[in-house]
């Protein structure tokens, strides 16, 4: 195990950025989001949750797929270049780390999404245990341990800096490349203290471990026609805040943009909360916001478990914090599954 002191951290980030793209939480005007490291940026490893999750690293909000040019009525297709350079996603919280597993289930299943696969191959995830969990955290519900990240490299806040532990080969390689800046130290005890601290706080948080026994594979018939959906969704604005801040929402749209010198075909995030999500020439099969709302939570809590054997929610709590009208998956779980914390 290694230690990096707080004052070494900026050097470490700079060193990584010299050879690889570095994607990390950056503070912009008081708001922290993942972004690419630049010389003058303000890295922020203290904020528990970025507004948007880390999924942009592998599944960016928009990405070019290919471009089409036309000459004399004939098309020429040029595929966008794939990610071909290693990059580091730094400071990812354990819940977001788990979200990559959810995304993998979608994009790496047959047929493989080649754009995603290329990024995943080149991405190195450095994660950071949740120093001070928040009241909206409920990752333990999905058996995620906020104290024990499962990434290429795991970090913990310790006195005066961070503990650093490589967990995979990719992580080892990264560690090697910046070893000069790391200080070999026996911090196991401090890490243990931090872990205990995290777990203790989590245990007193109101949502830390919700009862999700009412959800999961095979519950479609129990839940689909519940009158509760109308009540829960009444205030839903149909905006995309929850889906765009969510680490596991992976729905996308494919659109064209006419650049004046060709058509660029790109993929961008879409939100099942939008009224035109399933709209096509003949109309839409989800006419009401209740149906769209239900879709989102049924997908995360029932359909996904049905198909993939796991929930597609990681309990990061972003939607709990950010929903403009305070609707969220926690309320859904509590109201439809009973109120008890397990």
């Amino acid at each position: 195990m290694f230690k990096i002191t707080n004052d070494q951290m900026p050097k470490l980030l700079k060193a990584i950025a010299e050879t690889k793209d570095l994607f990390l939480p950056i503070n912009n005007n008081g708001v922290t989001n993942f972004g690419f490291y630049k010389e003058d940026c303000t890295p922020d490893l203290d904020t528990l949750r970025t507004v948007k999750s880390a999924k942009d690293a592998f599944f960016p909000q928009s990405e070019g797929l290919y471009a089409v040019t036309t000459e004399d009525g004939k098309f020429t297709i040029s595929e966008e270049e794939y990610c071909n350079k290693d990059f580091v996603v730094f400071g990812v919280r354990p819940c977001d780390v788990r979200s990559f597993v959810v995304l993998d289930k979608v994009f790496l299943s047959d047929p493989v999404d080649t754009y995603y696969a290329a990024r995943r191959e080149h991405g190195i995830v450095v994660s950071l245990a949740c120093h001070q969990p928040d009241e909206s955290c409920f990752c333990a519900t999905f058996d995620i341990d906020a104290a024990e990240p499962e990434a290429d490299v795991a970090m913990w806040n310790i006195e005066g800096g961070y503990a650093w532990e490589a967990k995979t080969e990719k992580g080892q390689a990264l560690t090697e490349s910046i070893k000069a800046l790391l200080e070999e130290a026996d911090v196991a005890k401090e890490v243990e203290t931090e872990k205990n601290c995290i777990r203790t706080i989590l245990s007193v948080l109101p949502n830390s471990k919700l009862d999700v026994s009412a959800f999961g594979a095979g519950k479609t018939d129990d839940l689909f026609n519940s009158p509760m959906w109308t009540e829960l969704s009444n205030a839903c604005l149909g905006c995309g805040t929850c889906t765009f801040s969510c680490p596991t929402c992976q729905c996308y749209d494919i659109k064209d943009f006419n650049t004046g010198h060709g058509v660029s075909r790109y993929r961008c995030w879409d939100s099942c909360m939008y009224h035109d999500f399933t709209l096509c020439a003949h109309g839409t099969n989800r006419q009401t916001q209740m149906q769209r709302f239900r879709q989102r939570f049924m997908h995360k809590l029932v359909y996904f478990p049905d198909r993939e054997g796991m929930f597609s929610c990681v309990g990061c709590g972003r939607c709990v914090d950010k929903c403009p009208q305070s609707l969220n998956i926690v309320k859904v779980i509590k109201r439809m599954g009973g109120n008890s914390n397990v």
Partner: protein, 322 residues
Amino acid sequence: MQAELIARAKALLADGTVARVLGWRKGDTDFNAEPAVFETAESLDEFVYDGFCGANLSKYMIKNSKLEGKTLVFLKPCDTYSFNQLIKENRINRDNTYIIAVGCYGKLDINKIKAAGNKAILSVAEEGATLKIHTAYGDAEMAREEAVLDRCKVCKGGKHVVYDELASFVDEEKPAAEGRFDEVKKLEAMKPEERFAFWQGELSRCIRCNACRNVCPACSCIKCIFDNNNYDAAQKVNTSSFEEQMFHIIRAWHVAGRCTDCGECSRVCPENIPLHLLNRKFISDINEFYGEFQAGEDTTSRAPLTNFTTDDVEPSIVKERG
């Protein structure tokens, strides 16, 4: 005051005056109340009205006033302007609405409480001018004043411009706050390149979640032009910095003269972009160019951009005023 509202709502439901009640329901935390529709007296026990009930309910009346029977809605002073504006644009059926005007002393912003360093908040209690905050890491206090939403700092005053009855705790005389345009003026005083940098910094965070648009009572289009493929303007995300600007300029322009300055756009923005400044800039311009105008003050006046006088200022005013 909450008990009074619940009692009134129950009475109006019971005597058949209204068929449903649009209000706020207790959240699973103190600061998590959500707008909700109550159809039975029992369900009203979950009704809440406190400092965290910031949501403007008027836009929900588009949907609710189309339903059978009257809907009782609770409107704060600033919400009534939005409501009037929606009536003006024929989006709400006034006859199907029963409005109880509720008082407001400034609504609280949980983000401000968190920004003050409070993590893992377990409860927040209002005690006069003080907030008592209980967190997993310990207890704290802060002045209520410091935790109110930005919009409430420039409150339009306590007057309700439309209602059927006033709740007892309403202070219609509460004066409007000063300095509504201070932030706008501060930006205006900057150099253009500084302003550009400011807005780039802010707008580059936009994730195009459309919360600002969907919550906005003036954005009541059935289908937004930005969702409409017919105009080549449909975008779902910002794929370039241009689109961030395009969306917010056009959105603000579309509601110019119709925006009541309710501030919901900034309240809901997950990225804390001060979107209200765009709207407020239009309001300040309109006031300056075409005379004082407060959208939603009445239901009949013509919005400034669908009106004119023969001696309006010329667009060159923008260059002339330096």
